[in-house]
C-alpha cells in the first residue's frame, strides 16, 4: 500500500493554523514567562493572533475550495463569513476576559484551601484562560467548515473541551463554577456520544463519512432510509445540544450562571455562531434533499424553543439566567433560519448570528461591571435604579435589551425581520407566527429589566458599577455602535453577506 501524503492548502487553512500556533505559544508563555509579565504577554499574543487570523480570513474571502485539506474542510463564502464573525466576537470577548479579576488565581487549588489563599496573597495569577480561549476558537473556526463527519467531530471536541474548563475558572463562587463546568462536561459528553452514534448510522447508510458522499446517497435515495433518519436524528441532537435548543437546553442556565461572566459572553456568542454555522452547512447541503424528513421535527423544536425560552425567562430573578433563557429563545429564532432552507434564510442566519453575537458579548460585558464587595451582582432586584447611578451603562444595556427584543433601529430587528421573512417565503408560516408571538412575550421581560433600571429607586446595598477598564470599554462601545449601526443602515453588511454566502458542494 502506498501512502499518499495529503495535499494541504496552507493559505486557506492559515486562519486556523495561526490560532493553534498562538495557543501553543501561549502554553509556553504560561510555563516560562515570569508571573509579572504573564498577563500582558498573554493578552498581546492572543489579540495579535486573532487579528492576524482575521487578516488571513479577509485575504481569502473570495476563495472557494473543496480540497483545502484533502477534502476534509471546505472554504466558501459562508465559511469565510462565519469565521470572520467568530474572530470579531472572539476579539471583543478577549477584551473582557482580560480583566483577570474574574478568574481564579489557581484553578488547580481546592476552593477555600490554603493553597488558593496563598496564590491570591502572592498575586500568583495564572493566565491559562488565554490559550484555552485560542484553542476553543480554533475549534469553532473548524466546526462550520468541516466537510466530513470525522473532522466535524474533532472540531466539536476541540471547541468543547476548553470551554468545559473555562466554565470552571470563576474566582468567586468557585463551587458553583465548578459544578457548572462538570454539568456542562457531563451533558456535553452525552451529546458527543449521541453525535458519534449518529455518525455511525450515517456511515452505515451511505458507506461514507464525507458530506459529499452522504449527500449523494440522500439525493440518490438508494440507501436504507431508517438508517438515515436515525443518523440524522442523533447528529441533530448533538448539534441542538450545543446551541441550547429545547429539550436539550438544561445545561445552559446553570452554566451561564456559574461560568465567569466574560466566558459566558464568549461562549454564548461564539459557540452559537460555530454551531449554527455547522448546522446550516449540514442541513443546507447534506440533508437538503431529505427536507421532508427533518423540517417538521425541527419546526416543532424551533417553536417550542422560542416559546419556552421566552416564557421561562419571564420568571428569572438573575440577570445571567435571564440572558441564558433569552439565548435559548434566540436559538429558536435561529432555527427558523435553518428551516427556511433558502438563500435568504442563509443570509439572514449569518447576519443574525453576527448581530446577536456582538450584542451578547456587549451585554455580558456590562454584567461584569455591576458589582459589590463580594464580586458581581447578578440578582436583578439589586439592579434597581441603575439608570440613576450610572445612566450611560444602564442606557447601553437597555440598548442591547431592545436589540434582543427586536425593536426597530437595532440590529435585532433587521435580523428577526430577515429570518422571519425568509421562513415565510419557504412556506413555514406557522413557525413565523409562533416566532412573532414569542417576540411579543420576550419583549415583556426585556422591558421589565429596563423598568427595573430606570423606573425604580435605587437600593442602598453597596451595589455599584465598576468603572470599565479601557478594554472592556472598547468592547461595550464597539458592541453598541455595531448594534445601532446594523439597525439603522444594515445595507452594506447585508449586501456583503448576500454576495458571498453560497455553499459550495
Amino acid at each position: 500500500m502506498v501512502f499518499t501524503p495529503p495535499v494541504l492548502n496552507y493559505t486557506l487553512l492559515s486562519p486556523i493554523l495561526i490560532l493553534l500556533g498562538g495557543a501553543l505559544i501561549g502554553v509556553l508563555v504560561e510555563a516560562f514567562v515570569s508571573k509579572a509579565l504573564r498577563p500582558i504577554t498573554q493578552l498581546s499574543i492572543t489579540i495579535g493572533t486573532l487579528l492576524l487570523s482575521l487578516v488571513q480570513v479577509w485575504k481569502i474571502r473570495n476563495e472557494q475550495s473543496l480540497t483545502a485539506a484533502a477534502g476534509s474542510v471546505v472554504i466558501d463564502g459562508p465559511a469565510v463569513l462565519l469565521q470572520a464573525s467568530i474572530l470579531i466576537i472572539a476579539i471583543i470577548s478577549v477584551f473582557v476576559i482580560a480583566d483577570t479579576d474574574h478568574f481564579t488565581a489557581l484553578a488547580a487549588s481546592l476552593p477555600g484551601s490554603d493553597e488558593e489563599r496563598h496564590a491570591v496573597q502572592t498575586g500568583n495569577q495564572v493566565t491559562e484562560v488565554y490559550p484555552l480561549t485560542l484553542f476553543a476558537i480554533a475549534g469553532m473556526m473548524l466546526f462550520p467548515i468541516s466537510s466530513d463527519l470525522i473532522t466535524l467531530f474533532v472540531a466539536l471536541e476541540m471547541l468543547s473541551l476548553p470551554l468545559y474548563l473555562m466554565a470552571g475558572l470563576s474566582r468567586r463562587r468557585r463551587l458553583a463554577s465548578q459544578e457548572a463546568a462538570l454539568k456542562y462536561f457531563l451533558l456535553g459528553a452525552f451529546s458527543s456520544a449521541f453525535f458519534l452514534f449518529g455518525m455511525a448510522y450515517l456511515y452505515g447508510y451511505s458507506a461514507s463519512v464525507t458530506f459529499a458522499g452522504i449527500r449523494e446517497s440522500v439525493v440518490g435515495g438508494s440507501g436504507n432510509d431508517v438508517l438515515l433518519l436515525i443518523g440524522m436524528g442523533f447528529i441533530s441532537i448533538g448539534l441542538l445540544f450545543k446551541v441550547g435548543a429545547v429539550p436539550f437546553h438544561a445545561w445552559s442556565p446553570d452554566v451561564y450562571q456559574g461560568a465567569p461572566t466574560p466566558v459566558t459572553g464568549f461562549m454564548a456568542a461564539a459557540t452559537k455562531v460555530a454551531a449554527f454555522g455547522a448546522m446550516l452547512r449540514i442541513y443546507y447541503t447534506v440533508f437538503a434533499n431529505a427536507q421532508w424528513s427533518w423540517t417538521p421535527l425541527l419546526s416543532v423544536i424551533a417553536i417550542i424553543t422560542m416559546l419556552f425560552g421566552s416564557l421561562v425567562a419571564i420568571a428569572q430573578r438573575d440577570v445571567k439566567r435571564m440572558l441564558a433563557y433569552s439565548s435559548i429563545a434566540h436559538a429558536g429564532f435561529l432555527l427558523v433560519g435553518v428551516i427556511a432552507l433558502n438563500k435568504a434564510g442563509l443570509d439572514a442566519s449569518i447576519f443574525y448570528l453576527f448581530a446577536y453575537g456582538v450584542a451578547t458579548v456587549g451585554a455580558f460585558a456590562i454584567v461584569t461591571l455591576v458589582r459589590d464587595a463580594g464580586g458581581e451582582v447578578t440578582d436583578l432586584n439589586r439592579w434597581k435604579g441603575l439608570g440613576k447611578r450610572s445612566p450611560w451603562i444602564a442606557s447601553t444595556f437597555a440598548g442591547f435589551l431592545l436589540a434582543f427584543a427586536g425593536i426597530p433601529l437595532t440590529s435585532g430587528f433587521i435580523g428577526k425581520f430577515s429570518i422571519f421573512s425568509a421562513a415565510y417565503e419557504s412556506g413555514a408560516k406557522g413557525v413565523v407566527i409562533a416566532g412573532v408571538l414569542s417576540s411579543a412575550i420576550a419583549a415583556f421581560f426585556y422591558i421589565r429589566v429596563i423598568v427595573l433600571m430606570f423606573f425604580t429607586d435605587p437600593v442602598q446595598d453597596g451595589t455599584s458599577v465598576e468603572l470599565p477598564s479601557v478594554l472592556t470599554r472598547l468592547t461595550i462601545i464597539f458592541s453598541i455602535v455595531v448594534t445601532i449601526a446594523l439597525g439603522v443602515y444594515p445595507a452594506p453588511l447585508l449586501d456583503f453577506i448576500t454576495h458571498l454566502a453560497t455553499f459550495i458542494r
Partner: protein
C-alpha cells in the same frame, strides 16, 4: 427648498443642541426646545402653503434606497390627510413645550432629557405620517414607542411606570401582529415581480380573500390598539392618567391618530376587499366605543381619566367615519382627527393647570373656579364645548360630517351614535356645572389665574377651535380631493339621496 427630510431633521438638530447645553441651565434648555419647535412649525406652515390642494398625487416625495437587498426605500410623501396631521403635530409641539414649561420638574431625570425626548418624538411624528414605504412606517411606528414610554414612565405621576409598561406592551403586541402581516406582504411582493415595500406597489398585489382578511386583521388590530377602539382601549386611561398633560396631548392628540391614519392609509389602501368584509364588525365596535366611552366619561371622578374616556368616544366617531365609506364620512373623519387634536389639547392643558394648582385631579375639588380664576375656567369651558361639538366650534363640523356620511349608508349606526352627542353634553356639562360653577370648595379661594405664558400657549389652540368652527373650508379643501379619490378607488360612490315621496 423645504423637504420632508429637512422637516424631520430639524427637531433632531434641536435635540443635539440641547444635548450640548449644561443640564443645570434649564431655562436655556426650554428656550431652545421652544425655538426648535417654533421653527419646525414655521417650516410646516411654509410647506402647507406650497401644497397643491387639488393635486391628489403624493407631494413632496423623496425616495432613497435604504436596504436594497430587501427592496426597502427611505420614501416619503404626503397627501392632504398626512399634511394636516403633520401640521397639527407641529403646531401642538410648541404649544406643549410652552404650556408645560414646569411639568418636567418632578421627573425621574433632568429637564433636558425631557425636551430631548419631546424633540425626538416630534421627528418621528412627522415621519410616521410622511412615510410611503411600509417598512419605514413600521420602523417609525415601533421606534416612537420608546420616547413616549420614557416620557410617561419618567415624568408622569402616580403609577407611572406601570402605566408606561402597559402602554408599551399593548403597542408592541399590536406592532408585532402588524409585522407578521408586513412580512407576508413582502414575501408576496417577491413572488409577484420583486421584493418591495412601496405602498403603491403593494396595493396592486393579488391575494386570496382569506389572506387578505388575515393580513388586514394584523394591521387593523395594531391600529385599533393605537386609536384606541373598544375593547382594546384599556391602556389609554392609565397612560393618560399618569402622563404629564403635555405628554397626554401628544399621546392622545397625535400618536393615537397614527391608528386612525393607518386605517385609512394602510388598511383601506392595501386591503380594500377585506376592509369591506370587516366593515359591519368595525362599525359596531366604533358605535360601542362612542357610547361606552361617553358613559364611562360621565362616571369619572378624575379629570384626566374623564378626558381619556371622552377621547375613546371621539375615536369611535373617527373610526365610524372612516369605515362608512362615503366621502363625507371620510372628510369628516379626517377633519375630526385634526380638530380632536386641538380640543383634547385644550382640555388636557387647562385641566393640567387646574390640577397642578389645586394639587388634586378629583373633579369635585375644583368647585367655584369660575369666580376665583375666571380665565382658566372659561378656557376650560370653551375646550369642553368644543369636545361636545357645540355648533360654532370646530368639532361640530366634523362630527356632523361623520354622522351625515354614515347615515346615508348605515342609518342605524348613525342614529345610535347620535346618542353619543347627548351623552357628550352630559359628560362635559356635569363637571363644568359641579366644578366651575358650584360653590367654592374650601382651599380654592386663593388659586391664581392663568399667567401670561399660559395665556399665550392656549390662545392659538382656542383660536383654531373657534376659527375652524366658523370657517372649516381651508382644511376641508385640502382633505376633500383626497377623500373623493380614496372612496372612488375603493369602488364606492356616495349614495344618492332618495326622495322620500317615491
Amino acid at each position: 427648498m423645504i423637504s420632508l427630510t429637512l422637516l424631520m431633521a430639524l427637531p433632531i438638530v434641536g435635540s443635539l443642541v440641547l444635548a450640548a447645553i449644561p443640564k443645570a441651565n434649564e431655562k436655556l434648555v426650554k428656550q431652545t426646545a421652544l425655538l426648535t419647535t417654533l421653527i419646525v412649525m414655521g417650516a410646516t406652515i411654509a410647506m402647507a402653503v406650497g401644497f397643491e390642494r387639488d393635486n391628489i398625487e403624493l407631494q413632496y416625495t423623496e425616495k432613497y434606497s435604504w436596504i436594497p437587498s430587501f427592496g426597502i426605500n427611505y420614501a416619503l410623501g404626503i397627501d392632504g390627510l398626512a399634511l394636516i396631521l403633520i401640521l397639527m403635530a407641529t403646531i401642538l409641539a410648541p404649544v406643549v413645550v410652552l404650556a408645560g414649561w414646569n411639568e418636567s420638574h418632578g421627573g425621574r431625570w433632568s429637564v433636558k432629557t425631557f425636551y430631548v425626548l419631546i424633540l425626538v418624538l416630534e421627528t418621528m411624528m412627522i415621519g410616521v405620517f410622511a412615510a410611503t414605504d411600509v417598512f419605514l412606517f413600521y420602523v417609525i411606528f415601533e421606534a416612537m414607542l420608546i420616547p413616549v414610554y420614557f416620557l410617561i414612565g419618567g415624568y408622569g405621576s402616580g403609577e407611572r411606570s406601570a402605566a408606561a409598561v402597559k402602554f408599551l406592551i399593548y403597542s408592541l403586541f399590536g406592532g408585532l401582529l402588524m409585522l407578521a402581516s408586513i412580512i407576508a406582504l413582502y414575501v408576496m411582493s417577491g413572488a409577484q415581480g420583486g421584493h418591495t415595500f412601496d405602498l403603491a406597489a403593494l396595493s396592486q398585489l393579488e391575494m386570496s380573500s382569506t389572506t387578505q382578511n388575515l393580513l388586514f386583521l394584523g394591521f387593523f388590530i395594531a391600529f385599533a390598539i393605537k386609536a384606541p377602539l373598544w375593547p382594546l382601549h384599556t391602556w389609554l386611561p392609565d397612560a393618560a392618567d399618569s402622563a404629564t398633560p403635555g405628554t397626554s396631548v401628544l399621546l392622545l392628540g397625535v400618536l393615537d391618530k397614527v391608528g386612525t391614519f393607518g386605517m385609512i392609509r394602510y388598511c383601506l389602501t392595501l386591503f380594500p376587499d377585506a376592509s369591506k368584509t370587516f366593515t359591519p364588525l368595525i362599525l359596531v365596535l366604533a358605535v360601542i366605543s362612542i357610547i361606552y366611552g361617553a358613559i364611562l366619561a360621565i362616571g369619572q371622578r378624575d379629570l384626566k381619566r374623564l378626558i381619556a374616556f371622552t377621547s375613546i368616544s371621539h375615536f369611535g366617531f373617527i373610526t365610524m367615519g372612516i369605515f362608512a365609506m362615503t366621502s363625507q364620512g371620510y372628510s369628516g373623519a379626517a377633519l375630526y382627527m385634526f380638530n380632536h387634536g386641538f380640543s383634547t389639547a385644550a382640555l388636557f392643558l387647562v385641566g393640567g393647570w387646574m390640577i397642578s394648582r389645586r394639587g388634586s385631579s378629583t373633579i369635585a375639588d375644583f368647585g367655584g373656579l369660575q369666580r376665583v380664576t375666571p380665565i382658566m375656567a372659561w378656557t376650560f369651558f370653551i375646550a369642553g364645548m368644543s369636545s361636545l361639538a357645540l355648533p360654532g366650534l370646530s368639532s361640530f363640523v366634523s362630527e356632523f360630517l361623520v354622522l351625515v356620511g354614515t347615515f346615508t349608508r348605515y342609518p342605524v349606526h348613525a342614529v345610535i351614535a347620535t346618542f353619543g352627542i347627548v351623552l357628550a353634553a352630559l359628560y362635559i356639562l356635569i363637571p363644568v356645572q359641579k366644578a366651575l360653577h358650584g360653590p367654592t370648595t374650601p382651599g380654592n379661594e386663593s388659586l391664581s389665574d392663568l399667567n401670561l405664558r399660559e395665556k399665550i400657549a392656549i390662545a392659538p389652540v382656542i383660536a383654531i377651535i373657534v376659527a375652524l368652527g366658523f370657517y372649516p373650508s381651508p382644511v376641508l379643501k385640502v382633505i376633500n380631493p383626497a377623500a373623493t379619490h380614496v372612496i372612488a378607488q375603493l369602488g364606492f360612490s356616495d349614495p344618492v339621496p332618495t326622495n322620500g315621496s317615491k
